[in-house]
Symmetry: C2
Subunit: 419 residues, 2 copies
Amino acid sequence: MKFESQPSYSLGQRTPASREVAAGENGGNVTLVSQSALGAINRGRVLQALYDNGPKSRADLARLAGVNRTTITGIVQPMIEDQLLIEGDASPSDIKGGKPARPLYFNPDAPMLGAVLLLPGTIQTCLVALTGEIKAVTKAEFDSHGDTEAFIAVMTKTLTATLSQSQQAPFGIGVASAGMIDSDNGTILTVNLAPVLTGLPLVAILEERFSLPVVIDHHPRALLVGDRWFGPGRGQQNFAAVYTGEVLGGAFFIDGKVYRGLAGSGGELGHSVVQIDGALCNCGKHGCWETVAALPWLRNEAARMGLPHPKSVTCARLVKEADEGSNEAEELLDRYTRNVAFGIVNLQQTLSLNSYVLHGDVAGGGMKAAELIRQHVEQLVVKRPGQEISIMVNGIGEGHTALRGAAGLVLSSHLKLVI
Amino acid sequence: MKFESQPSYSLGQRTPASREVAAGENGGNVTLVSQSALGAINRGRVLQALYDNGPKSRADLARLAGVNRTTITGIVQPMIEDQLLIEGDASPSDIKGGKPARPLYFNPDAPMLGAVLLLPGTIQTCLVALTGEIKAVTKAEFDSHGDTEAFIAVMTKTLTATLSQSQQAPFGIGVASAGMIDSDNGTILTVNLAPVLTGLPLVAILEERFSLPVVIDHHPRALLVGDRWFGPGRGQQNFAAVYTGEVLGGAFFIDGKVYRGLAGSGGELGHSVVQIDGALCNCGKHGCWETVAALPWLRNEAARMGLPHPKSVTCARLVKEADEGSNEAEELLDRYTRNVAFGIVNLQQTLSLNSYVLHGDVAGGGMKAAELIRQHVEQLVVKRPGQEISIMVNGIGEGHTALRGAAGLVLSSHLKLVI
DNA sequence: AGCAGTTAGTTTGTACCTCGCACAAACTTA
DNA sequence: TAAGTTTGTGCGAGGTACAAACTAACTGCT
C-alpha cells in the first residue's frame, strides 16, 4: 500500500489548487507548522542539498544536514523505490577504511520540468531536465493586441507540442513572463506592449488544461531562479540577479529563499533614484537608475561622443572596440559600468548580499565588464572587514536562462523549499 | 515529573551557549527541522499571536493559526500551569449562544526582560515588562578611551543594580549598541568614539557573569525590534525602521523576521547613493543619502538661508516655526522631508515593504513631518495598483525605544521566532 | 421549565517524524 | 587473520499535531 499513483512522500501535489496550500496564510498572521509539513520541508531540504552539492551518500547528507543517518535513510528510501533518486556505484572507502559509500543522485530518467517564456508577441516552451539540459523547444507567435481565446489556443498548442515529446508527464510547468505579475494569485496584471495578457489568470487556465501544477513569476525573478538552480547562484544562500537592457530590473535570493515582496512586487530597481532631480525617466520621475544605466542612456552618450553606429551600441560592442584600442569606447564603457555599479552599491548598502549575477546587455560584456563593475562597486561601497563582493556573469543565451528559471520555479515549489 | 526548575516546554535555554544552537548552520548549507524544534517554533508562534493580537481564547488562537483547538490546548496548558499565561474571566458568549470563551494573556507577574543601551561613554540599563513598561532604569558613564576591565566593572555594577530590583530573574538580557556589531558572534566590532569597546565579546562576558541568555544587536535594529514588539510595528510582518539624526540608518522586518544580512551588516542606508558625484560624505564617497538628509545638511542649509540659530536647528523646531508662519522654515522643512523621502523611495522600490517607522530627528517633527514625507514618497515612487504606503512615527523618547528594542531582542530569541 | 442549537475546551486514540542504540556489511591496515 | 572504521538498516522511545467524541456552558424558542 505504499506506492499508488501518488508517491507516498508527497513532495508536491500533482493536482491543481496546490497554490492555496502553499500560500499558507489564512487571514491570520501566523501559521503553525504541522508534522506532515515538516516532513515535506525536510524531504525538500535533503533534495536541495543533494542538488546543490552533487551526488552524496546518506552519511554525507546526514553530516551536511546535521541530522541522524537513520533520518536520511527514512527520507531517501521511498524516493529510491519511486525512481526519483538512484544509488550510484560504491565509491572507494575512506582512507581509514570502512564500508564504501553509495552515492545518491537524481535519476536521469526522472520526470522533467515544463517551462514557458512569455514575452510580448512570442511564446517559447521547452522541457528542462534536472541537469539543466533544455529539450523540445517550441516557439510560436501571438497577436499582442488580439483575442484572449486566440492567445490561449496558441499557448495550449505550443505547450502541447513540447510536452508530447516526453514519455512521462513533467513535475509541473513554470512560466516566466514579462510585465507585472501577481505570483500569489497566478495572474498576469499588465504587460506593456501586450494588452491581450492583461488580467489573465494564466495559472488557473494551464492547471485546468494540463492537470499539472503551474507556477508563474516575472522575468527577472525567473533569471534569479535560473541562476540559483542551474547557474552561478547554485548552492548559494544570498545573492541578487541584476538585469540591464532597455529597462533595468532585479531580484533577490535572501537566506535561501526567493524574495518576492508584498504581492510579488519588490526588485523594481530601475526606478530607484541615484540622481535627485536628474534626467527625466519614462516613468515620469527624475534621476532613476534606469536613466543612467540602461541602453537608451548608452545610445545617447555614444551619439553625443560621436561613436560609430550609436543606435546599435551594446556593452559587448564597447568591450570589443575598447580591446581594439578605441579610447572613446573605453571611456564610455567605464562610465557605463560605473553607472551600473551605483545600483549594485545601493543594493549592497541595503541588503549586503555580497554576490551579484549580471544578465542582459551588461552580461554581454563578459568578464571584462563584470570586473569593471566590481572595481567600481568596491570603490563606492563602505568597506566592512572580511567582506568580499563578487560580480558574476550569466552569459548563457538569455532566453535559455529565463526558461531554466521558469523550470526552477517548478523545482522550488515542488521541493517545498519555502517555509 | 513535569515541572522542574526548567519549564517542560523549553522555550529558550536559560543556559549560555543557546546562541550556537540558534545559529543552526553547521558548516553545511541546510539544516533539517526536528520535532522538538517544531514544538518550540509553534509554541513561539502561539505566544506571538497572543502578543500581537491581545488576549484571545484558545478557540480564537486556533482559528488565527489555522490549527486544531486541541493543539492550542496542548501548547497553552503547560504555560498556564507555569504561570507564564493566565486565564482571564469568561467573556460573554457569541450572539448565537455557546460556552463563553476564557481569554488568555500574559501573566503581569511573569518575568521581565533585561535591557542595556550602550552608547559612547554611557550605559543605560532597565527592566522591561511584557507590556513594554520600563522599570528600574540605571545610568552610568564610562571612559570611552579607558581600560576594558574598568568598563566591564561599570557594566556589571549597573546591570546588577537594575536586575536586583526584581524578585525573579528576567528571561534574558538584550543589548543595543552603537557601532558595528557582529550579532552572530555576540561581539562588538568597532564603535567610533569608544575604542574601549572594540572587539569586545560582550555576550560571552555577560552570559558568564549573569548566567542568563544574552543577545546583542546594533542600535537601528533595536529600534526596529522595539517598534515590532512595543511600537507601531506591533503585529506587522513587513516594515522598516528609519533613523535620522547626525547619521542615517535603517533596519528591516521582512516576512516576520528581522533582516540581518551577512554577518549582521545590511541596512547601512546612510551611504546609499542618491546623487551621483554629489557632495562629499564623511565616508569619503560622494552623494550619499546622509549628505542630504542628516542633521549636518539641515544645519548647513539653515545657515545658508539665514535662519536664526542654524546650529541648533531640528525637525521639531522647523515644524514649530513653520506653524508659526515662517516661510523659510516651511520651505526648508519641505526640502528636508523630500530628501529623507528619497531614501525611503529607494527602499520601497527595492523591497516594497510599504510600511516605514521614523525615528530620531525627523520623528521629532511628528505627524506633520511624517505626512510631508509620505506625500513626497507617494510622488516619487512608481505606483502599483492597490499599494498603499504608510509612514509612522515613533515619538517615544529615543532611549526608551532602543531599550524596549533591546528587550524585544530577548523576546524574539526567547520565543524562537526565527526558523 | 425544558429542549434544541451553538460554541469552548478536554479526553482519547492515531499517525507521523526524528533520534539513539544496536547490529550487519564491507572495506583497510597490520 | 584480527582489529579498527565507516556505511547503512531495524527497532523502540519520545515528542507532536490531528480527528472524533465528549462535557460544559450559554442562547433562544416553545
